[in-house]
Structures are given as C-alpha cells and as structure tokens.
Amino acid sequence: MKLLSSFKKELILASRGFYFYVELIFALVILVVLLFAIPQNFSSTSTEYLHFNLPQEGREIFTNNILENDLDGESEIVEIEAGGKTFNAELIVTDESEIYIVDSEEAVRMLADSEKVIGAVIELNNNNQLHYKYYLQGYESTRFKNLISILFNESTDVLEERINNQDVRPLSTDYEPLSDRENTIPPLVAFSGSLMGMFIMASYIFLDKKEGVIKAYAVTASSVWQYLMSKIFVVLLTSVVSGFIIVMPVMGFRINYGLLLLLLLTTGFFASSLGLLVASFYKNLTNAFGVIYLLLIIMMVPSIAYFIPGWDPFWIKIIPSYPLLQGFKEIILPNGDTIYPLIVSAGFLAVGIILFAITNIRFKKTLSV
C-alpha cells in the first residue's frame, strides 16, 4: 500500500516534470530517424571514374565488357560537376558499382579529388601495351594496393579459377541476417530505453535532495527501500514505453515481446539501481555529472564492437552493455537464441538486486546529506 502510494506520487511528479517527457520524445525522435533517415539497407555500391585513353576500337571493347553487367544493359549519358566544371560521362550501373566513363584524364583527376573516390585511366604505353593509372585517395591499405598490382601481373583466368576453388562453408545455415535498419535497433534501445534510466534516476534523486523531501520521507513509517523502489518503477515504465515506441513500428509482430519486456525491465532495474548508487554519493547533478558521464561513455564502448564484428576483445565483453546489446539483438533476430536474453536478464536482475541493496544501506546512512 505504501509502495503503491509512493509509486502514484512518483507518477504525478514525473508527469509534471521534464525528464519523463525527454525520454519519450527522445524515443519518438529515434523512431522517426529509424523510419525515415536510416534506409532498410545501407547502399554498398561504389562509385568509380574511368577514362579510356585508347583508340575507338579498344574503348568500345572495354565499354561493352562493362556494359554486360549493367542492370538494364544500357548506359546513360549524364553530366557531372567537379571543381566548378561540368563533364559529360557515360554512366553504367551494375550490382556493385556506378561507373562513370569520362572523356579526359583531367576529369578523372578532378572527380577523384572532389568526390574522394578512386579514378583510373587506361591507356597504351610506348610499346602499345595497356597501361593502368590509378588515382587513389592515400588511405588505401597496402593489401589493397598489392591487389591492384597483382591484377595486372597474374592471368585473370588463374585468379578466377583460384577464387572459384575456394571452399566456403557457412557455420550456420538457418541464420537470417537483420536489415541495416533493424540492426541499428539494439544500441538505440539499449541507450534510450535502458541506460538512460541511470541518468534519469539520478536526476530524480537530485531533485528530491534539492527539495529536501527525502528527509520528510525518512521520518514516516515507510521504509527507504519503498521510496527508492517507487522511483525505479517509474523509470522502468518510461524505459518500457520508450523501448516499445522504438521497436514496435519497425519490427511489427515478428519478435517475442515478452522477452523484450523482460530484458527492458531487468536492464532498466540494473541501470536505475546504478543511478541510485551514484546519486547516494553526491549532493547534486553537477557534482555527479563527471561520474555519470564516464559511466555512459564506458557503456557506449561495446556499441563500437557491435558495429565492427571483427573487433571483439575480451575486456569489452565484461562491460555490462555488451550482453545488453547482444541480448536485444538475439530478441529481434528472426532465428535468435531465446535462452541468451533469459540468461542476460537473470544476470542483470541479480546485479541490480545487489546494487539496490547497497544503495538502500547508503541512503539509510546518508539521509541528512
């Protein structure tokens, strides 16, 4: 009854405050970005600028070879601008590239410079042999440069044969990847839905400290843990609502919302308990800002590993946001592992309970602060 009354009071305060709406508006902004700014899949096509400084016959052979891969089998005459000049170009669009064939080396050089992409000039040398000149950007790896070199020192037939003979075996055959848009959901939900709770919780406590109402609560027959838990309930509510605002419109009914709810609740409990613990050491948000900021930065590091699968050192896995991100990913994967989010939820719940118990003791000792 006391807990319920405290929860109702916290809801009234939150609804009349600033942070409650900040989190929800933030979730709506993320949703708009997800739906209208982030494409379903990021484009992987590259742009290349070529010039054939060859006799008409040679130029046609090269052009026709490339044209065979054009999506509609026809090139298009376009005008492109670079360095204040306009150049005519023949555009050939393949699955992997947009290839612009321009009519001068100057155009290749200026376009490579202004568009920051690779340009190439194919011409004949003094011995009437084909000569390839590349305009690179300077940041290309040695491996890439070696690859370009080997292309012209080895028979293309040999290269093709070797590539075709490579034995590629997928480790999992029932794995369905997420679209690029779906793949961005876990970090966004993790930070706006769960980890933001840490900051919001600390803010709520500092507001109460400023008004001195914690002392007033402390001289009632209600326990400190009920006061703290009622605040956690409000943070969990906003975490769940903002999490669902982000996930539902993008994922529809394709995922297990029970699991999502569980993970949002347990990770939100962990984050808000951490926020409470931090708030118990400081008098106001200004004093605590450094620690909160540092914790948020540390929590954000695993999102780098999330987007760079090849970079996954051990130490990153012990940062709590790592399993948090992977847990959310497993939930939205079409064939995701349902056990993993359960294990992660149990872990966050256990750590959250420990943090909450420590916080409860801290608040009992520091009520006059």
Partner: protein, 284 residues
C-alpha cells in the same frame, strides 16, 4: 518520552564532535526547548533522535523505542516539522498531505482539516512551488501533525512567519500539548521558548550548559528590582526599588498611593540575557 545519555556525534568520524556528552530527559506531556545559536548542535541532536543521523556513541530512546535500532513503527508516534520547508513543489498542498497520510500505519488526520488549521484554506489545490516561503513552512508544520503524533519534534516552527501566523502556530502547539502531546522544540528564538516551554536546555558548541524551567532561570538570574516612572510637580521622575528590602517596598507603596504612575517594570532577566550570561555568547 525522550531519554538521552552521553550522546556524541562527529560528522567527520573523528574527535571533532558536533555533539559532546549530551544527556537529558523529556517527560511525557512536556514542552522541552532546545536552545542555542546556529551550529550549536541542536539540529544534530534532533537528527539523531529522529533517525536522520545514525547514533554513533551514547544511548537514546524516543517514545519507548531504542534509537540504536530504530523501528519504522516509531514513526507512527512521532511528528517532525523541519526548519527548511520540504514539500513536493510539483504537487498541490492537498496532494502533499494526502500522500504523507498514506505512509503511516495509524489513523491519520484529514488533509483539509490540517490545511485549514494552518490558514491555508482555499490554497489546497495550488502547487506548492507557487507558495511563499511562509506558506510552505506552514504546510511543513501541518504535515508534521498528519499522524496524530504523541511525540512532536519542531525545528524553528515560527521562523519566517509574520507575527499573526506565528501566534496561531504557537496556539496550535499549546493546544496539542494540552491534549498530552510531548514537544521537543528546537529554536534560537528565546521569546517563543519563554512562552511555550516547560523546561529549556542551553546548548553551545555541542554541550549542554544548563537545563531548567524559564521561571526558575529568571528567578535565579534576574535582578529583584522594580523600575517606576511617575509624575511629580509637573515633572517625570524615575526610580528603582528593591523588591526585597522593606524600606524600598514601603517607599514603592507610598508612590503608588500618592503619585501618578506612568510606567512600572520588574527588572527580571530575559532568557536571552540569561543565555548570554551562562554561555558567554549571543544567539545570532
């Protein structure tokens, strides 16, 4: 109702004590004034007795509950009005009191009754963030009565209030005391202490220097003199008489009988004068 013995408290957990060897008892139904300047140790002692500060050394019990292991049930019996108003500014006066009324296991008072009692009737639906300092203070005072406390801690209950409202607050305190409520009054205002308290304790630098009733203190430290101004031959004359010497008593009676008395004052000491005499420093 309150028993304190050998109480010590240090904020820095060393020998720099904010409260040193404080001992006193407060009987049931008594109004006990804890008087001293800012930083004397009044609020620290009250903080320990209300569980806001943890007991470090010594023994204390409030309303029959040992402060070493405070039971939440104790708070059903005590009320606490803070010097600094501490109400939820985003909630109305009524919402504030309604919320606190649900945090006790005993029968609580109607929020509206308390709001009217402290003169905030008509403002019950106003958010307290829009209240003046005095209005917030009255609401904080009203909240301390929500659970019908038998032990009432009041920290500077009339600070910042205009004289008329302060008089009303004093009347409320007296009225509750007449019904048997024990009051622990912390203040640096000697006038309110003089008017309300059965006994007062002077505390300075964390130590209690003296405990007695205001009347006894005045008798002990006041001068036994009467100062009279009277008219004689068209002039105003001023004389001081001893209330002990028979010769002076006779003279005073004669003046009262024959002359026109303009003013007459006993020269008893105020609590503030006694405090300065006892502690060697003022209350500011």
């Amino acid at each position: 109702m309150i028993e304190v013995e050998g109480l010590y408290y240090s904020y820095s957990n060393d020998d720099n004590f904010a409260v040193k060897d404080v001992s006193f008892k407060v009987a049931e139904g008594e109004i006990f004034g804890f008087l001293g300047p800012s930083g004397a140790g009044k609020s620290t002692t009250q903080g320990i007795l209300t569980g806001l500060l943890q007991l470090q050394k010594g023994n204390a019990s409030v309303a029959g509950y040992d402060i070493k292991n405070i039971s939440r049930k104790m708070f059903n019996k005590i009320g606490m009005s803070f010097e600094q108003s501490n109400v939820y500014s985003k909630m109305t006066a009524k919402e504030n009191l309604s919320f606190y009324s649900k945090l006790f296991d005993v029968e609580t008072r109607d929020p509206m009754e308390l709001i009217n009692l402290v003169g905030l009737g008509g403002k019950e639906n106003m958010r307290t963030g829009e209240f003046s300092k005095g209005m917030k203070h009255r609401l904080t005072f009203a909240r301390s009565m929500i659970n019908n406390p038998s032990m009432w801690f009041l920290d500077e209950p009339t600070t910042g209030l205009d004289p008329a409202i302060a008089a009303d607050i004093k009347d409320i305190i007296k009225e509750h005391n007449n019904k048997g409520v024990t009051v622990f009054l912390t203040t640096h205002n000697m006038y309110i202490a003089d008017e309300l308290c059965d006994r007062v304790a002077f505390i300075i630098n964390g130590e209690i220097r003296l405990i007695d009733s205001p009347k006894n203190l005045k008798l002990q430290y006041g001068k036994k003199l009467v100062e009279v101004e009277y008219g004689q031959d068209g002039n105003v004359k001023k004389e001081t008489f001893s209330t002990i010497l028979q010769e002076d008593k006779d003279l005073l009676n004669k003046i009262i009988a024959d002359k026109e008395i303009l003013t007459m004052h006993t020269k008893e000491a105020t609590l503030e004068e006694i405090f300065i005499k006892v502690t060697g420093r003022g209350l500011a």
